[in-house]
């Protein structure tokens, strides 16, 4: 079985033809898209699925008696099934949201109802704003303590510090699976054991891992898991919250309104069953369906193949960047497919602007992780090149060469 998977190599040229945007010219150059960690590009099948839905099936779901309403509801629920099997969950454990941020807000607001004064929450120093701000703001309302797991010099979580922080008052541990700045892959299985031995809940932010490695909620043994569609080749506007069924059943809804109800009187409301209890209002139907199509595409390529090829690319990029004496890299060597760096004496924005003139798209800034970038790494901004399976070794070579142009403009040779 394993041999069969490894034997099936990805045909990158063919894959690239599946992504229409890769034909774009930017300032006369072929687009080199190294910003997939911000949002990935979409394959033709995903783009067409949205058009096809609006041309053939469009209706509101779970309401109408007519044919189109039935088709729309079927397609929407079919997408949910695809997502469930993609992460080895049950269908009713998959809740559609707008994105990772909304999924985390849903959890924060819903779980906070059961928290008491002096309870504690643990997150880490490497979290994205979406996994800091909801906890930080709600903690203030109830005098709840928010603790941060330190990171070591390499950019890995300090697990000893985590063990010190865990105590009887710790109710929630919410961590990123892969750091969007450092590329660190956190040891979730080990963390999960520690969290559950302590009778706390584990929330996993998989925004940066879901499209790069096989995610199995049972293997990771996480209570909740969240991700966005647009970072995994689907549309914007659709995200996912996974939760263990018995936990979701006992939680209060976050948003109230249509579709999340079973019965409404002027005085009371009975909530709908899972997963609809958490999906108030008309959802982004086409976007949800197209996320199912994106998952079909990932399954067709095979997550093992994707992981293997992206590791090859990332190792190559790391090696090439490490050779440059004036470049500082952030994060551990063993990492997911993104690398943050800075060129000495040149601001990240200037690097990004000059690379853009060569058709190369990278991220420059604080990557929505200001506390990490400013307070821990002590930088005003970073450059980040993030890779996908549609990137090539040749693109990395061109990127490395283009850094010379940056130096030339700033006369930093």
């Amino acid at each position: 079985m394993k041999m069969e998977i490894l034997a099936k190599q990805l045909d990158i040229e063919k894959i690239r033809r599946d992504f229409p945007i890769l034909r774009r010219k930017i300032n006369g150059n072929n687009l080199i898209y190294f910003d997939s960690a911000a949002t990935s590009q979409r394959p033709k099948t995903v783009i067409e699925s949205i058009k096809k839905f609006f041309e053939n099936n469009n209706a509101n779901i779970h309401r109408g008696i007519h044919k189109l309403a039935e088709e729309s509801a079927f397609l929407y629920e079919e997408a949910r099934q695809k997502i469930a099997s993609f992460i080895n969950a049950d269908t009713e454990e998959i809740i559609f949201t707008k994105n990772t941020t909304e999924s985390l807000n849903l959890l924060a607001y819903s779980l906070f109802k059961d928290l008491k004064e002096n309870d504690e929450i643990i997150i880490s120093e490497m979290e994205h704003h979406s996994n800091i701000v909801p906890w930080q703001q709600l903690a203030k309302l109830k005098s709840i303590k928010l603790n941060f797991i330190k990171i070591d010099k390499e950019g890995n979580l300090d697990l000893n510090h985590f063990k010190d922080l865990l105590n009887k008052k710790t109710k929630i541990v919410s961590l990123t699976h892969v750091s969007n700045v450092l590329g660190t892959i956190n040891p979730i299985k080990e963390i999960s054991k520690l969290v559950h031995n302590n009778n706390s809940l584990l929330i996993l932010d998989c925004a940066q891992s879901i499209s790069h490695m096989k995610i199995d909620v049972k293997e990771l043994n996480t209570d909740f898991l969240v991700f966005s569609g647009h970072k995994m080749y689907g549309s914007t506007g659709i995200g996912v919250l996974y939760g263990k069924k018995h936990l979701l059943e006992n939680m209060n809804p976050f948003l109230y309104g249509g579709d999340m109800i079973k019965n409404v009187t002027f005085k009371e409301t009975d909530f709908n069953s899972l997963p609809w209890k958490f999906e108030a209002g008309t959802p982004p139907i086409a976007e949800a369906i197209s996320l199912g199509i994106a998952i079909d595409y990932l399954n067709y390529l095979g997550m093992e193949n994707i992981e293997e090829y992206e590791k090859y690319l990332t190792d190559y990029l790391y090696k090439q960047l490490s050779k440059q004496k004036d470049i500082r890299l952030y994060g551990p060597k063993n990492r997911s497919s993104l690398i943050s760096f800075n060129l000495s004496n040149i601001h990240a924005h200037d690097v990004a602007s000059i690379l853009d003139s060569e058709g190369i798209a990278i991220r420059a800034g604080h990557m929505c992780a200001m506390p990490l970038v400013r307070e821990i790494l002590k930088e005003p901004a970073l450059c980040r090149a993030s890779l996908s399976f549609y990137n090539t070794k040749e693109e990395i070579d061109k990127f490395i060469l283009s850094l010379n142009k940056v130096r030339l403009v700033f006369k930093n040779e």
């Binding site: 300032n27 006369g28 601001h347 990240a348 924005h349 200037d350 602007s353 000059i354 853009d356 003139s357 060569e358 420059a364 800034g365 604080h366 200001m370 970038v373 400013r374 930088e379 005003p380 901004a381 142009k405 403009v409 700033f410 006369k411």
Partner: protein, 135 residues
């Protein structure tokens, strides 16, 4: 539509000699010992930080200084702005517009870099408000 999408923003063309000169040797960079007003501006989008200090005498900008961290565009525009208003009337400084800044830079600024170019202007306007409020 195609004009918007395919418009060739200057790219490396914005890094002209004088921009890089102001970036590498910013004018009026540093502190004023006994300033009349100080304002700290932070651009959360890029992480640029800028502190502006002003010394005013007889309604004239006797001295203007800045310090902080930023990209070439942000530092160059701060540097050029400081040269532009030094020695001039406070009202002249107060009435500086976006267009004035773009003219000083004399390069085509893409939408994504506009914030960098105008950080100093935002800081200047707030600085003058602080000064006038104090007086």
């Amino acid at each position: 539509m195609s004009e918007i999408i395919d418009r060739d923003y200057a790219g490396e063309g914005i890094y002209r000699e004088n921009i890089l000169d102001h970036y590498k040797n910013p004018r009026n960079f540093g502190n004023i010992e006994n300033f009349d007003a100080e304002y700290h501006e932070f651009n959360s989008l890029c992480g640029d930080e800028l502190t502006l200090q002003i010394k005013i005498e007889n309604n004239l900008v006797k001295d203007i200084r800045f310090f902080g961290k930023g990209c070439a565009i942000s530092i160059a525009s701060s540097s050029m702005l400081s040269e532009e208003i030094k020695g001039k009337k406070v009202d002249f400084a107060k009435n500086i517009t976006k267009e004035n800044i773009f003219n000083l830079l004399n390069i085509q600024i893409s939408p994504s870099r506009t914030k960098c170019a105008l950080l100093c202007l935002e800081a200047l306007r707030k600085l003058i408000k602080i000064y006038k409020g104090e007086k």
